[in-house]
Structure formats: C-alpha cells, structure tokens
C-alpha cells in the first residue's frame, strides 16, 4: 500500500510466477515499489498469487498466461506485457522450470524433451527477446533460476541437469554479450528448497532453504547485480568440490 508515484515507475516481469519461490521473490519486488506482471501456465494459482501480492503491498500485480513451450507466442507475450505495464519492464526474472523424474524420462523421450524444451529452449526463446530490448535501451537486468544440477551431469537427474547446465552456459554468454550495454545477467542456483518437490525427502536441514529465505537472498543478489548466486553459502563449497572430482573417479560414484 505504498503510495510513491514516480514518473518512471519501476516494473518487472516474473516468468513462472506461481511457484513458491517466485511468489516470494515477486513480493520482494513489490515491497520495493515495483509494479509486476506475474506470468504462469497455471492460471488459477497465478491469479491467487497476484491477488496476494496486491493485497499485501498495494502495488499493481497483473497475472498473465505464459506457456514456456509455446515459443511462437513469446513475441506476443512481450508486447502484451509492455502494453499492460505502459512501458518495457526494467528487468525480467525467469523462475519456470520442469524437473521430470529421471527414470521416467529415460523411458519416455517426451519427458526428456519437455525438460529440455522448458528449461533450455523456452528460456532462450523468451530471454533473447528481452535481451534485445534491454541491449538497445542499455539498461535492465535478466535474472534466471538455474540449478546446481547443471554444474555436473549425474545419473540421478542428468535429463534435468543437462537442460539446466545448458541454461547456465547460455546465461554466461548472455552476460558477456550484455555487459557492454550495462545490462546485468544474474544466474541463481538455489540448491534444495523446502517445497512440495522436496517435502518428505530426508535432506539435511542446513542445506534446505525456505522459499521466503531464498527469495530474500535472490532479491539482494539481483539488486547488487551479481553474476552467480547460491542461496545458501554452503552450496558454493559443495559444488566446488563436486566440480573438481576427476571424471575417471566421478563416473564411478553415486552422488
């Protein structure tokens, strides 16, 4: 219910806005005075979350339908967002993703493909469009939730990890390209989060972040225009170790 009415209002687009962490990330943006477009495939939940953000903060928060897999709709989506917000957003945050069950995806290529199409191709399709706008304007940020699973291929989830690994490499290249245009590209690797996906899994509590906790860290990192972010500092060290295990050894391991 803040009432600062700047001439150039701050605005951001959250893609995959109905996930638990996206919701709290959107809330951080709204509390900081941003108007938002919340875009998700799940219309019903997306509307509930947009209403929640409006009610808690008094900011504008517009729910919009977005399908990461419908690549040919992405151009239209970008234009519609602009007309809804009355301007191009300052930045975009990509929170959508799809994690298939590894064994099921090995047996059924359509699941493997959906993982690659959502986590990688869909991300590239939408982010390239924003990259072009922000680069021309020489201002903005692109943040995306990738995964520690993309840092090294493992038998437990490589059909997810490979797609996220592709996303991480893509963001690296994009960061390199947009640096000259002063556009920040932030790669977020959350590690375990306490969500429906992990509920009931026997995970060590210090490695698991709650969605609001993760969102606060992510928001601070976006504000500081960091390059790579782990939600919990511990993960940085775990991944350094995992990345440095020699391949002849790693291929024998079950991690």
């Amino acid at each position: 219910m803040a009432d600062h009415n700047n001439l150039s209002r701050k605005a951001a687009v959250i893609l995959g806005g109905a996930s638990a962490v996206a919701r709290y990330l959107a809330l951080e943006f709204a509390k900081d005075g941003y108007d938002l477009v919340l875009a998700d495939f799940d219309r019903d939940e997306n509307e509930r979350i947009a209403a929640d953000i409006r009610t808690r903060t008094g900011r504008r928060c517009v729910p919009m339908f977005f399908d990461a897999l419908a690549f040919d709709t992405h151009e239209g989506f970008v234009r519609e967002c602009e007309s809804v917000l009355g301007q191009a957003p300052e930045g975009v945050v990509l929170c959508f993703g799809f994690m298939p069950e590894q064994l099921a995806a090995q047996a059924d290529f359509s699941l493997a493909r959906r993982s690659i199409d959502t986590n990688f191709t869909g991300a590239v399709s939408i982010l390239e469009r924003y990259a072009a706008i922000f680069e021309a304007r020489r201002h903005g940020f692109i943040a995306a939730i990738s995964s520690v699973a993309g840092d090294r291929g493992r038998k437990a989830n490589y059909l997810y990890g490979a797609a996220k690994g592709g996303l991480t490499r893509y963001l690296e290249g994009l960061r390199n390209r947009l640096h000259a245009a002063k556009v920040a590209v932030i790669t977020i690797k959350p590690g375990f989060m306490d969500t429906k996906m992990t509920y009931g899994m026997p995970l060590p509590a210090p490695l698991v972040a709650t969605p609001p906790q993760a969102a606060r860290v992510m928001y601070a990192a976006i504000r500081k225009r960091k390059n790579n972010v782990h939600v919990l500092w511990f993960w940085r060290f775990i991944m350094i170790i995992i990345r440095h295990i020699p391949e002849w050894q790693f291929k024998k391991m079950s991690v």
């Binding site: 939940e45 209403a51 929640d52």
Partner: protein, 459 residues
C-alpha cells in the same frame, strides 16, 4: 502412498508427549481436497504453527500443516475487512497492514499463529473485557467438511456450524479461509500505565476499579511470593497511543516500528535452568523494575508479544517440556485463585510467566473459552509427579465453578472437561451431523471424548 507426506514428531508448544504424526503439507488451496479425501489416514487434523500448548493439533494418523496456505485475497480499506487463506499468520497481517494504520482487533500473546488456529481456538487478548474473542471479528469462513463440501459459515448463514467451529479446535472440518475485520489504530505504539499491587486482593481490586478505563489490561503475577505477598502483581493497562503522545522521532513515522531482533534458543536448556531460585530472582527483578508509572510508550511488539523476540523459548524448560495451565473462575469465586496460587507457591513449581486477567462477557462459541471472571495462566515445568499435581489443581478449579482452556490444556480428564463446558452436548450434536464417521480427530479430541461416540467407546 497417496499425497506427499512425512512422519514428524509433533507435540504442542509445551513439548510434552510428542507423537510420530503422518504429516501432509498442501502448497495450494486446490491441494487441500486431495489431502482431505486421501483414504490412507483414518483421521486428520489441521495444524498451523503449533502454538497450542497441548495435543489439540497432534494426531498420529494424520496432520495437515496449513502454513503454506497463506494467500491474502483482498483487503477493503474502507470496511477494514481482510479476506485470506487460513494459513496466514497474525505476523503477516501486522506486517502488511500496520503500515497503513490497521491492527488486529484481538490478538493473543504471540503473533506466530495462523488465522485458522486463532479461529479454531477462539483466542482472546488483553482486551477481552472490552472486545471479546477473535471470533467476534470473523465475518465469514470457508469450512471444508468431512463430506468434502466447502461450506460458507458466518453468524448469519450456517450460524450453528460457525459457532461450533470457532473454538471447535478443528473438529468440525478444516478452515480454508476467513474474512476478518481489522481495526484502525492511531499508531503502532501503546501508552501503558503500570501499577504495582502488593498481593492478590489488591490486584483484583485494582483491576475491578481500573479496567473499565482501558481497552487493554493484564497483570503479571509473582507465583513464588507467599503469605502477605501472595499474588503480588504488576498491573499493565494500555491504550493505543495517539500521535500527540509520541516523541518526535516516533510521531514522524507513527506506524513504523523497528521490531526487536529475534534471539533464538538453539537447543534444549538443561532441565534445572528454570528453577525456583532463578525464577524468584527474575520475579524480584521484574517487580522492582516496574514502579507505578503512567503513559509509558511501548511499541506493539513489546506490549503484545514480549516472548516472540525469543524464538523457541519453550526450549528453556528443557527436554521434558512444560504445561501451560490456564484456569478461569467466576468473579464470585475469586477465592479459588488464592487457593491455586497457594498450591503453586507451596509446591515450588516455578512459573516463569504467570498472567492474570479479568474477562468480560462470554461469547456465543459453543466451546469458546472465556467467560466473565478471572483467568490465571501459568507455566508449570514437567517435573516429578505432574499429573497428580494437575489433578489437584483441576479439582480446585472445578470446585470453584471454573474451567480450563483447550488451547493450553494437555492433561485435563474427560470428566473435568464435561463438567466445565455446559454447551458440549450442542457441540457434539453438530459434530455428529457434520462428521458422523469422525474424520476430523486429534489426540485431544480422543482424550476429552470430543470425537464421535463410536470411537470414544473403544478409544
């Protein structure tokens, strides 16, 4: 299999008798129906942040953690009505609306409770003598019943179910959402008047005389004082501070309070940490720290939620936990309070926190706790033969026409409960009608015979 779940050791806030409970945690409103219609658990109970002290939200067969259902739906600044899912906490409501000048019209002593829990226990606050319980400000609620229907209940429609659900400790169904009335306040501060009373009689007399002039009233009681000083107290009377009462820094931003840094209690303290000497030392310090002062400006957090700044303070009582005992006795039987305090003082069972308050009129909730009288709430560490000690206290309370609070209780017998809640049969009739198979149940419900008769017979 069925819905995702995990087995967790759950107890009430008093941490006595934890049970391994099959726990579900729906993330979205639409995940609720599949959980509640999952046939694997025989019985289910909704749970919020687990601040009920006893076994009200403990159920080995199935517990549904509602804390992820915390979406706010709308707020109308003209009427002050907030509609939200039941897992929204009071803290979230304060954070969102106090900056705009709205506060909870009734709040218990912790803000870490859900709206659903506040309704299911029909909680009260320091303003009960003026404003009644939480349910007075609930305009409507959505109840998911055992037959998987969603009923809209309010004092106007499905009123019988509404009044069974408020204070009904989750046994009529699962509260999915509610519309609650918030209240405009002039600032985030309370202007407090402190008044020391040398003993219980002085405290009761002072409450009777002064309560009418203040919306908030509560007394802290030294439970270890004996003889002439039995029940010596510090009375705290408060009202919302107007901008003119505030200093310049506060008046510039009357709704902005820097909430206290939260101090965690990272592990169980040894059982002897709170003993009669350490508590006596604290009590002496507290009594002497509060001479009679008027118009002391205190922020809302320190006034309403002094213990919230110590996260997991229940660990201070050690691994065996404690019982929170809250008894209310009618005004004409205030002598029962003296007996209670004498028993406590004589047993040297240190109560770190004892709180005395004069309740106003009883509300229409069938199992709603407060009625016109004096209520005394104390912590009793779980040492020695606590069951027998509590039975003795229970008898004293019953003999003086009093009763215990379900949100606090962990040990009361079914007989004591039945004797003290005169509208129980009305509640049972509604429970039987809404939930004939006893789908909604808890350890407390079975202990007190609150679930359907069939189960009670072989339970």
């Amino acid at each position: 299999m069925g819905e995702p779940h995990k087995t967790m050791q759950l107890s009430g806030w008093g941490r006595m008798r934890p049970e391994p409970c099959r726990t579900y945690r729906p993330e979205r409103l639409r995940d609720c129906a599949p959980v509640f219609s999952d046939p694997t658990p025989d019985t289910l109970i909704a749970r919020g942040y687990g601040r009920s002290y006893g076994d009200a939200a403990v159920n080995a067969a199935g517990v549904v953690d509602m804390t992820r259902l915390n979406r706010m739906r709308s707020f109308d600044p003209v009427s002050g009505i907030l509609e939200c899912e039941s897992g929204v906490s009071l803290e979230e409501i304060i954070d969102a609306f106090l900056p705009n000048g709205f506060f909870l019209p009734v709040t218990p002593g912790t803000k870490f409770v859900t709206v659903g829990g506040a309704i299911a226990n029909d909680v009260h606050g320091k303003n009960h003598h003026c404003d009644g319980t939480f349910s007075r400000f609930v305009r409507e609620l959505e109840l998911l019943t055992a037959s998987s229907e969603v009923l809209l209940c309010s004092p106007e429609s499905n009123a019988d179910i509404f009044w069974a659900t408020v204070g009904g400790i989750g046994l009529t169904g699962c509260i999915l959402s509610a519309k609650i009335q918030l209240m405009r306040v002039p600032s985030a501060y309370i202007s407090v008047d402190y008044h020391r009373c040398a003993n219980l009689d002085a405290a009761l007399a002072a409450m009777e005389e002064r309560d009418g002039a203040y919306p908030y009233s509560v007394a802290w009681v030294d439970c270890l004082a004996e003889g002439n000083t039995l029940g010596r107290s510090v009375l705290m009377h408060g009202r919302h501070a107007e901008p003119k009462d505030l200093d310049r820094r506060q008046a510039d931003r009357p709704y902005a309070v820097q909430t206290a840094h939260k101090l965690p209690v990272p592990f169980n303290f040894p059982g002897f940490f709170l003993n009669s000497w350490s508590v006596q030392a604290f009590n002496n310090w507290f009594y002497n720290k509060h001479p009679d002062l008027e118009h002391v400006i205190v922020d809302y957090d320190r006034f309403f939620y002094p213990l919230d700044s110590i996260l997991q303070w229940n660990r201070m009582y050690g691994k065996r936990g404690f019982v929170q005992y809250q008894a209310t006795m009618p005004l004409e039987h205030a002598a029962g309070l003296t007996k209670l305090l004498e028993a406590l003082s004589a047993s040297k069972r240190a109560s770190f926190l004892a709180v005395l308050k004069r309740f106003g009129e009883q509300g229409p909730g069938l199992l709603s706790y407060p009625f016109k009288g004096y209520t005394l709430a104390l912590d009793i560490p779980n040492h020695g033969d606590i069951t027998q000690f509590l039975r003795d206290l229970d008898r004293m309370v019953l003999d003086h026409g009093g009763r215990l609070y379900l949100a606090k209780d962990a040990c009361m017998s079914r007989q004591s409960f039945e004797a003290a809640y005169p509208r129980l049969s009305e509640f049972r009739a509604i429970k039987e009608r809404l939930d004939p198979k006893g789908r909604f149940s808890s350890s407390m419900a079975r202990r007190l015979g609150l679930t359907v008769q069939k189960e009670a017979e072989h339970g």
